[in-house]
């Protein structure tokens, strides 16, 4: 039974696929590309998330609960208090900070732990016993440090023989002996563990802790305990389940992952279109063959099945290939770009790729599904063809007729436009993406109608104008009258061009906006800060005296100060930034921000704050609205050294912030100092006199401030360049995806086009009889290709601009909570369109030459079909 079945299969499905190998291969490749991209994005993201979660578990261990400060450290007395709770089975005090290493730019994560208390909660941070006498208690003497394998490797490479770790502290460098390696910490995480007493003393954190890790007694109702703690913990201190942090990490990159997956889905859609064109042409070419099959007894359903079976073969091949490519792509992405695909969400980790059966299967099914969907309409068309009529060779095949009714396309376009106004669903702009899909499909469905209208007009012009070459007239007339076929070969290139244009506009808009934003956020040419041992991210403070000294240093014409604190307003969300800025004029703090909304001043005496767009978005429900201004909300202001003062503040404006996705609040330095009694600030923006150099000013500052040895001046241009560099890196992957999509689109068009030409060889044979030279034929075909490509590029551009508008005004604000200014890079797009048309023309010309010179056109004329 098998052998005849196999033979039957071969004759009916495989042989036709083989015969159209080139097109089949392209369809397979397109499906594979979509599957590969989608799978790779998800694999990489999963790997990064897993790594992130592992990293979180490394530092929080098996704790059931954490107690931490909403904005800063907590009082160590809480350790004693919480240790008395009956529900607490084990408790460990922790200090976690980023410290500066001598002669190293990147900060190092330092964990200060009590090895005796942490043994049960974070066993992986325990120093193993070894032959040299190291054991978990070796750290207690405060001069020793345990390092993660990755840090050990780094030290061996950069600080051989790696027996010391040298911290850069305000009082000078401090050497710690490496007591051993924490072999339980896997992966690329660089981490050093010291005793908690040493951590307090080295970093001046006496009396303070970063957090407490708690293991609860068996049978404890954690939710009830959390509720009790919410009431009993002092202000500014909260209890959280460690999963919350993992969830935050996942949420952080979710929007990014969704965006990239959508790109992959569009690639898959292109693949689907390719299968569609492959099979549609196949139906046309094989009309007689299919008719013959019908005549010898294959039912209509059977012929649908046959076509779908071919699609399944294509789809499966594409899916398998795509899965393999996906893993390869993910692997190289992880090695070359990093787990966040360049977006910077997972700094300092090196994720490991693992096999993900569910995601793999899902994307393979999507790939096969795309092929089947693509083959559906052609299969039905094949079944509909009446055998007798198809066998009768009355006309040359007339392609797919006039195409779908334009009403459906128009309805989809309209629906897409309406969907763009819908809000996000659970933080993801699902309806926005649906809008993009509708616009895309609508445009493709409308293409035949547009092709017809356009080329009919063209044909009318051409025939009215004497001297129009016959080849051009023929080409245009054909396009005008066979719009559906034109539409089929256009669809892939149109989709790809639209996608590329949309992404390009979005990225350029984004980049321009970021550039402007950087200008506004960093107005001064120089920035002064004090690198701190506690963290390179949290510079040391400048108190009022230091501020005055800085202002009075020769060469400094103007100095303004900024300080950034983190605040947790909602335990389920990452902390927001509180930016404290000095101002010279009464109300200056806000006006120097990239404001998108500004409210008039009110006389209620409440401190005014300026909130970022994402803050406005995320914490909308907390802001009590009032008419005519931005409303008020309760802001917990951090007190020194810990604790909070809750203050109602008024929203004076909303500003655009690309740096802090989780929200930021700007408050004036004077207000902050008045409310908290804390006038310390961190960073100084410096304007220098004409004759002053940064180096000279820095020397002057160091002489005047001998107690602040670690002062450092940064040039703003360098910061801007670095920021834009990070930005460009982030979008490298999207560019790569676009390039892939465009190449697939072009290849798809070439394939469809080639199919069309092969199918039309009788027509060309007839024209040869009628006196068209081979060259003229080639020119005619190339003209058709160029006209199609030009139209594809044109429609792609128009659609691309629409999609870009959805991306810029809907997807991005909903995904990331920020807005941007729409900016069309006209020149780049023109170049892109030209390149697209040239490439398409060249490929048409090559195709025309290849097909016309290899096919026996003269004989084709005599063939019965």
């Amino acid at each position: 039974m098998i052998a005849p079945l196999a033979a039957q299969l071969d004759a009916l499905a495989l042989a036709p696929l083989r015969a159209r190998a080139r097109r089949s291969i392209l369809a397979v490749l397109a499906i594979a590309a979509g599957v590969a991209l989608g799978l790779a994005v998800n694999l990489v993201n999963d790997a990064a998330l897993t790594e992130m979660q592992q990293a979180l578990r490394t530092v929080s261990g098996t704790a059931d609960l954490r107690i931490e400060g909403a904005s800063r450290t907590i009082d160590e007395a809480l350790y004693g208090q919480m240790g008395q709770w009956r529900e607490v089975e084990a408790i460990a005090p922790v200090i976690e900070l980023n410290a500066a290493l001598a002669r190293r730019q990147e900060p190092l994560k330092i964990m200060g732990i009590d090895p005796l208390a942490s043994a049960r909660l974070t066993p992986q941070l325990m120093l193993p016993r070894d032959a040299q006498g190291s054991n978990p208690l070796s750290l207690l003497d405060g001069t020793r440090v345990a390092v993660s394998p990755a840090l050990q490797a780094w030290l061996q490479q950069h600080r051989p023989p790696a027996t010391m770790l040298t911290l850069s502290l305000p009082g000078g460098n401090r050497d710690l002996h490496i007591a051993g390696v924490l072999s339980g910490i896997e992966g690329s995480r660089q981490l050093a563990v010291i005793d908690i007493a040493a951590a307090q003393e080295l970093f001046g954190l006496q009396g303070q802790l970063t957090r407490l890790d708690l293991r609860l007694a068996p049978g404890t109702d954690r939710a009830a305990l959390l509720r009790a703690l919410a009431v009993q913990l002092p202000p500014g201190v909260r209890a959280v389940a460690p999963e919350v942090h993992e969830q935050q990490a996942a949420n952080l990159s979710r929007a990014y992952r969704v965006n990239l997956t959508m790109l992959a889905m569009i690639a898959l859609f292109s693949g689907s279109l390719l299968v569609f064109s492959t099979q549609m042409l196949s139906v046309a070419e094989r009309a007689a063959e299919l008719a013959f099959l019908r005549v010898i007894g294959v039912t209509a359903r059977g012929s649908v099945g046959l076509m779908l079976f071919e699609a399944v073969l294509l789809g499966t091949a594409g899916a398998v290939l795509g899965a393999v490519l996906g893993y390869a792509l993910a692997w190289s992405a992880l090695h070359v770009i990093g787990g966040d695909l360049g977006a910077g969400y997972f700094e300092g980790t090196r994720p490991v790729l693992t096999f993900a059966p569910r995601a793999t299967l899902l994307f393979m099914l999507l790939g096969a599904g795309a092929a089947i969907i693509g083959a559906w309409v052609p299969a039905l068309a094949a079944a509909r063809a009446a055998p007798a009529q198809a066998l009768k060779t009355g006309t040359l095949h007339d392609g797919a007729g006039t195409g779908p009714p334009p009403l459906i396309g128009a309805a989809l376009l309209l629906g897409g436009a309406l969907l763009a106004f819908a809000p996000a669903v659970r933080g993801i702009p699902v309806l926005g993406y649906l809008s993009i899909a509708s616009l895309l499909i609508g445009t493709i469905l409308l293409t035949p109608a547009m092709v017809a209208a356009l080329f009919r007009m063209g044909a009318a012009c051409a025939s009215l104008r004497p001297g129009t070459p016959a080849t051009l007239q023929l080409a245009i007339t054909r396009l005008a009258n066979v719009p559906a076929q034109a539409g089929i070969s256009l669809a892939a290139v149109l989709a790809a061009a639209a996608l590329a244009v949309a992404m390009a506009i979005m990225v350029v808009s984004f980049r321009n906006s970021v550039e402007n934003w950087l200008e506004q956020m960093l107005p001064a040419p120089y920035y002064l800060r004090q690198t701190s041992a506690l963290s390179t991210r949290t510079p040391g403070h400048f108190d009022a005296r230091v501020q005055a000294v800085i202002r009075g240093t020769p060469g400094v014409t103007r100095a303004e100060f900024v300080r950034t604190e983190t605040l947790t307003l909602d335990p389920a969300r990452p902390a927001v930034a509180l930016i404290i800025r000095t101002s010279t004029a009464a109300d200056d703090a806000g006006t120097r921000l990239p404001l998108v909304k500004q409210y008039p001043a009110t006389a209620d005496g409440l401190p005014r704050v300026w909130i970022s767009e994402s803050f406005a978005d995320l914490y909308r429900s907390r802001i009590a609205p009032s008419t005519g201004d931005g409303g008020t909300f309760e802001l917990p202001l951090p007190l020194n050294p810990n604790g909070l003062a809750v203050q109602r503040v008024r929203v004076a404006g909303v500003w655009r912030d690309y740096a802090r996705q989780h929200g930021a609040i700007v408050i004036r330095g004077a207000d902050f100092a008045r409310l908290t009694g804390d006038a310390r600030l961190q960073e100084a923006a410096l304007w220098l006199g004409d004759n002053a150099t940064a180096a000279a000013v820095l020397r002057g500052l160091k002489t005047r401030l001998p107690d602040l040895p670690a002062l450092e001046i940064t040039e703003t241009t360098a910061v801007r360049a670095r920021s834009l560099g990070i930005f460009d890196r982030t979008f490298t992957v999207t560019y790569a995806l676009e390039a892939v999509a465009v190449v697939i689109g072009l290849a798809g068009m070439a394939a469809a086009f080639m199919g069309l030409i092969v199918a039309r060889k009788k027509e060309f044979g007839m024209l040869r009889h009628l006196g068209l030279t081979q060259r003229e034929l080639r020119r005619m075909v190339t003209l058709e290709g160029a006209a199609l490509a030009a139209l594809g590029a044109l429609l792609g551009m128009v659609l691309g601009v629409m999609l870009a508008a959805v991306l810029v005004y809907v997807i991005n604000p909903q995904s990331f909570g920020w807005s941007m200014d729409f900016h069309i890079p006209v020149l780049q797009l023109a170049i892109f369109a030209a390149a697209l048309i040239v490439a398409a023309t060249a490929s048409s010309w090559l195709t025309a030459r290849h097909v016309l010179d290899t096919q026996d056109l003269v004989r084709a004329v005599r063939e019965d079909w």
Binding site: T477, Q774, R775
Partner: protein
Amino acid sequence: MLAVTRLAKRYGNRTIFDNLQLTLQRGEYVAITGESGIGKSTLLNLLAGLDVPDAGNILLNGQDLAALDDAARTRLRRVHMGFVFQAFHVLPHLTLADNVALPLLLLKVAAGERMQRARAMLDAVGLGARGGSFPRELSGGELQRVAVARALIHRPRLVLADEPTGNLDPERAADILALLRDAVARADAIGILVTHSDVAARTTQRVLRLAPGGLHDVTA
């Protein structure tokens, strides 16, 4: 005048014909018959300048097709020849008028004149009212009428018809054959009808049978 002298053509080792002679004057309308595979199509291709002989000459109006390059032969074909095919080969995406006017388009005849002559031609084949229709609306017989009109619109010297009734029922076939005969006569062209059908052959003035030795007049 069409004068074929000492024509020879072989494919590899197989000699299709060797030393074939044929002379036809304007107004002559002949049929060429012969068994399948004997070389009727090859002869037709050589006469149309779509293929080149291994030896011999094909003189059409004094020009030797064998001596011309492909482009020159193509131009000669464009100006002086008309074709009717078994499978009609009417372009589906053109209207009937456009199809008929196709040779004029290639000859760069102005649009207005093209349409005028196409309409006249369609009138002549009995489809005068349907110039704006598309081929899919027509029956096979009607399509072949269009093809005949297309073959003659540019007043060719030589009309080559290759089994023009192969796809038609006898009634329609008779129609077309009569139409073709009359049209060739009216145009004062040389007509060559390649056919299997004796019935069809009998509509011509002379029947030539292609055999390995050459063309033999077998007019009954």
